[in-house]
């Protein structure tokens, strides 16, 4: 389409504006091809093309048009883009027009102009505030089956695609001295003065074009147009190295201690993101914040004030002056302040027909406008026009033609960020609006319209005052610069909220279809607290969060209750200021990168062997090592167990936590953190240790080796490596700060392998340098610092989790890969087998060791049969509280073993125990099965679990029941030590 053609089709285009007529952009709305220009928003381009009807309301499916030119938009929400890029509920008013943009209207069945759901509108008398609380209760079963599905399908606005969001999102961190929120006159001036003074400044504005209302009004500053004055300041700001200008960036929240959240839109104004981050979520750390977020215009409630064509008066000026679009050809104005008159004046200056200015104030018109009828002390009673405004009728009966009605109910300062830390705004009668209260987030100052200083000259003066205060706080000197002389006028408002003699419903909250009648009904029913009003009527709960509606609703409620607005209250503003995509908060922490992945030193080697890996906390561990011909994981695991028990197996146990403990008081320290004693442990020996929490419950277990007089190395479970270390640092720093002991986590520093099985000694003997591994020289529970493979430092521990003759050998992590390969090579002659976590688990169940499934944070030492390990000769963490009566009852659970009476049956972990034949109910619950496995050694399923008085019930037969998996197995209570109960193998 040529420029000429596209201009012809844009029948509402006028002269001027900040658009680039040389850059035509073609877009699609509801499958209709339209054109606009660079610099347009979707909304301005739609208006240019005369498209007034853009959507349907939430409840009544009323036809709706564009009402604003900013983020406060309640009606013009579209589904932008398509497929997996679909963005539901996107405000057309802040969507930059790009070539190839595709948008669809939302929330209608059938074409936008003939929405069948509009039948709801006819039923409106029965769908008033809270109607759903009073019905749909009978018959009871119909709620989930009938009523709710119908309500759910009808509710909601746009649709998600149901597919994964393909875009990427980044996070960033900025540190600055001054964050300026908003690039209107107050923000620009503050940023420039702070920038010139040398402060590190961030200036963020949600718009793609900085300047705020300067771009939308016809003000002059020092005889320059507002827009060009803004351009001049922006250019200087961009030239300053200490200033960062961030357009398309919304500061969405104020958090503690000068932390602000901001969302920068990087590619939303492009057709495709092409792999670049769509948006960046910034965390801004600042010393001072200048909030210059401007103000938002309110409407007035009158009959049928929701027709397409009824707009905010300031938005009409924005479209006219900035976007060179007139929203109508015959415009009327309804206002309670002088601002509406400015709209009329701007329209007249562009030769648009203004049919009337209706002013609720019973005073003289602020100025005369040629050919414009002024109706002072008048009110609009109703409007007509099925899909768009055609006429307005006054309460006097007078009526005017209008395809656009510009409404100004006054301006509400954008105080949102001042409330994010629970600050309460205060009512200001002069401007009939809430202004920031005294309890601002620390470090925040408010300038311009956001502070209720609505005229341009006032806004600039307040910016000057605020920035001087900020610079003074920062120890910088304010540059001497006089404020520009400005043309502007006062607002001069007389509060007027709704037309009582309205004909038809008068909307307060357009998007959620809340009318003055709903407010009245809420009042009748006692929901007059402002939070009740909101919750009962849904006022202010739509995607715009009541930016245009809240004050109106509150004021009307105040009127009904005969109270003042401050007495009635205000709802609290919560972050975010405008909605933020969930994906932006997640950034790159999604998919496989949701959390970091820790790999063990043998990972590459295990990968080469085709190991199956499993997530164990942050780690990936080899679960089993399948061999050719093995079709089921059990085959691999059984083989690994049997081969280990028959000869020798190797397992990477690096993930166990390792804590290095050194100092003259290391032994004393360990005596206090462990339930059992370690100061008496001989150098060169290892001991099993049980650690309690202060409440007497088992916290963790593991072995600790004494490598020297003042040097121990502790192992923790994989899961608790971090929390045990934290706990020990607490003990060291907070409880016993004078002990000579130091701790360091060495988990990452050492690669550690278990070498288990009758041939483990023979295998290791080939690896170690000059050390006698005979039972006499290096007995069970011995340890030593040695060298291997000709001088590589290593630590050797003779400990066993499998119950076999076994060792754990540790080498510095950088040798971990070589070590596993050396061990495997050395083991070839013994037919060494690598085993994974499954075989490890099977062998520990066969030995009856408690592990993660057993140590669940409610387990006492007695529960796992280790009650006597809690030494009473010394103080230790958990010692005193472990003696509480409730933890030492006769009927306490005890960890015991279970075998199926019918050995062909499989046991089920998570089964509960009930006495044979007893009902499967809570009252008969006697414990549960914590771990089960198939024991290849015994040739049947085995389990361990907790049973009341289990130690006294050996040989008893019970039902292990699992209604969830539909199983019940008769089991016999046995010792949990299924294999080698006397421990002969591991000592051999």
């Amino acid at each position: 389409m040529s420029t000429e053609q596209s201009q012809r089709s844009q029948r509402n285009r006028v002269d001027g504006g900040l658009i680039d007529r040389s850059d035509t952009r073609t877009f699609e709305f509801n499958n209709k091809l339209l054109t606009g220009f660079a610099g347009d928003t979707l909304a301005s381009a739609l208006l240019a093309n005369g498209q007034r009807l853009v959507g349907r309301s939430f409840k009544y499916h009323r036809p709706r048009g564009i009402v604003s030119a900013g983020v406060e938009e309640a009606n013009a929400l579209v589904e932008l883009r398509s497929g997996n890029l679909t963005e539901p509920n996107t405000r057309a008013t802040v969507t930059e027009l790009f070539d190839g943009l595709v948008a669809k209207s939302q929330n209608h069945k059938g074409p936008l102009a003939f929405d069948v759901m509009a039948v709801n509108d006819a039923l409106a008398p029965f769908l008033s505030a809270g109607f759903y609380y009073k019905t749909f209760m009978w018959p009871k079963a119909f709620w989930e089956k009938l009523y709710e599905p119908v309500i759910r399908a009808a509710a909601g606005l746009g649709s998600l695609s149901g597919e994964e969001d393909p875009d990427v999102y980044d996070k960033g961190f900025i540190h600055c001295d001054v964050l300026v929120v908003g690039g209107g006159p107050a923000g620009l001036w503050s940023a420039l003065m702070a920038g010139r003074a040398g402060a590190r400044v961030v200036l963020a504005d949600e718009d793609f074009q900085l300047g705020g209302r300067l771009n939308a009004e016809t003000h002059t500053l020092n005889d320059q147009s507002g827009a060009s004055w803004a351009q001049q300041l922006i250019a200087e700001l961009e030239s300053l190295p200490n200033v960062r200008v961030m357009p398309r960036t919304t500061v969405y929240g104020a958090f503690d201690h000068g932390v602000y959240g901001a969302l920068e839109r990087k590619t939303d104004h492009l057709r495709l993101s092409e792999g670049k981050p769509r948006q960046v979520l910034w965390r801004v750390y600042t010393k001072r914040t200048v909030l210059a977020s401007g103000a938002t215009e309110r409407s007035i409630a009158f009959g049928n004030n929701d027709r397409p064509g009824v707009m905010l008066a300031g938005a009409v000026r924005t479209y006219l002056n900035r976007f060179a679009v007139t929203p109508g050809q015959h415009v009327a104005v309804f206002t309670n302040n002088n601002d509406g008159w400015q709209t009329a004046k701007d329209l007249v200056n562009k030769n648009i027909n203004v049919t009337a200015v209706i002013d609720s104030r019973d005073t003289d018109a602020p100025f005369e406008l040629n050919g414009v009828q002024a109706c002072m002390g008048a009110q609009v009673a109703s409007t007509s026009g099925r899909l768009g405004l055609k006429r307005i009728t006054l309460t006097s009966g007078k009526s005017f033609e209008a395809d656009c009605l510009a409404v100004s109910g006054g301006w509400s300062p954008n105080v949102h960020l001042t409330c994010h830390q629970r600050g309460r705004p205060v009512w200001n009668d002069t401007i009939a609006a809430f202004v920031p209260g005294a309890d601002l987030p620390s470090g925040m100052l408010v300038a311009g319209a956001a502070n209720g200083e609505l005229s341009l000259s006032d806004a600039l003066r307040s910016a000057q005052r605020v920035v001087n205060e900020v610079l003074n706080d920062l120890g910088l000197s304010a540059p001497a610069e006089a404020l520009p002389t400005t043309s502007d006028s006062t607002v001069d408002i007389t509060a007027f909220w709704h037309v009582k003699e309205s004909k038809g419903r008068a909307w307060v909250d357009w998007q959620n279809d809340v009318t003055t009648k709903d407010v009245a009904q809420a009042h009748l029913e006692g929901f007059h607290a402002v939070e009740h009003l909101k919750r009962y009527t849904t006022l202010g709960m739509a995607t715009d969060q009541g930016k245009t509606a809240n004050v109106l609703g509150l004021a009307i409620m105040a009127e009904y209750s005969g109270k003042s607005i401050p007495e009635t209250g205000t709802t609290i503003f919560r972050p975010p200021y405008t909605p933020v995509p969930i994906a932006a908060f997640a950034g790159r922490s999604r998919g496989k990168n949701f959390r970091p992945t820790r790999l063990t030193p043998s990972h590459d080697w295990a990968t080469e062997l085709g190991a199956q890996f499993v997530e164990v906390g942050p780690w990936l561990r080899a679960q089993w090592f399948p061999r050719a011909g093995e079709s089921h994981w059990r085959e691999s695991v059984d083989r690994e167990v049997l081969q280990t028990r028959a000869s020798v197996g190797i397992c990477d146990v690096t993930t166990l936590g390792k804590i290095d403990i050194q100092g003259a008081d290391a032994g004393v320290f360990l005596d206090r953190v462990y339930a059992n004693t370690f100061s008496s442990l001989a150098v060169g020996k290892v001991r099993y240790g049980l650690m309690l929490r202060e409440d007497g419950i088992a916290m963790d277990d593991g072995t600790t080796a004494r490598l020297g007089e003042h040097h121990y190395v502790m192992t923790t479970t994989t899961a608790n490596a971090v929390s045990v270390f934290r706990h020990m640092e607490f003990c060291r720093q907070c409880l016993w700060p004078n002990l000579d002991v130091h701790l360091i986590s060495a988990t990452d520093q050492w690669a550690q392998y278990a070498v288990a099985g009758p041939n483990s000694r023979s295998l290791l003997q080939k690896i170690v340098d000059d050390i006698d591994l005979s039972n006499e020289a290096f007995a069970f529970m011995a340890c030593a610092e040695i060298t291997v493979c000709g001088g590589t430092p290593a630590r050797l521990f003779r400990i066993s989790f499998s119950g076999e003759l076994a060792y754990e050998i540790a080498v510095p992590t950088r040798y971990g890969d070589s070590m596993i390969r050396e061990l495997m090579q050395a083991g070839e002659e013994f037919d060494v087998v690598p085993y994974g976590t499954e075989a490890l688990g099977v062998m520990r169940i066969e030995k009856g060791h408690a592990a993660g499934n057993e140590l669940i944070g409610t387990t006492t030492a007695a529960n796992i049969g280790l009650g006597r390990m809690v030494s009473k000769k010394k103080d230790s963490i958990g010692n005193v509280l472990s003696e509480r009566e409730g933890l030492n009852s006769e009927s306490d659970n005890r960890l015991v073993g279970f075998i199926p009476v019918d050995k062909s049956r499989e046991l089920q972990a998570g089964s509960h125990f009930v006495q044979t034949g007893h009902a499967v109910v809570t009252e008969n619950d006697q414990g549960w099965m914590s771990s089960v496995c198939y024991s290849p050694t015994l040739g049947h399923s085995i389990g361990i679990g907790y049973l009341q008085r289990g130690q006294d019930r050996m040989g008893e037969v019970l039902d292990a029941v699992s209604p969830l998996t539909d199983s019940s197995v008769a089991v016999e209570v046995v010792s949990p030590h299924f294999v080698d109960p006397e421990g002969e193998r591991l000592r051999g």
Binding site: F255, D256, H257, G258, V259, Y285, Q421, S442, D665, V668, E694, D695, V722, R726, E729, F730, Q733, C734, L735, W736, P737, N738, L739, D875, N879, V880, L881, E883, R884
Partner: protein, 95 residues
């Protein structure tokens, strides 16, 4: 939130792990006659004021210092930050 670490300066609170009431430093004497009650109270009946609260934070993603942070639980404003080991010593926790 930002915590002014006595050794490292302002750090984001996200680097820390929270424990709670700083009176957890005052672990009772297990040999005292009322030890059972004292330990019960020590562990379970912690201060929970709406206002100034002295509390323990651990710089887990940092230098592993335990800190005593004096913070207002209504406003989140932080009045002071001390090393917990210093506080413990001042409170007479010795070997």
């Amino acid at each position: 939130m930002m915590i002014n670490h006595p050794l490292l300066g302002l750090r984001d609170a996200a680097e820390f792990v929270y424990l709670g009431d700083a009176s957890l430093i005052n672990r009772p004497d297990r040999d005292a006659p009322d030890a059972a009650a004292a330990f019960y109270e020590y562990l379970h009946l912690r201060d929970n004021p709406a206002g100034t609260h002295r509390e323990l934070w651990y710089h887990e993603q940092g230098d592993r210092s335990w800190l005593v942070v004096t913070r207002n639980t209504l406003t989140h404003d932080i009045e002071s930050v001390e090393l917990a080991s210093d506080v413990a010593r001042q409170q007479g926790r010795d070997v």
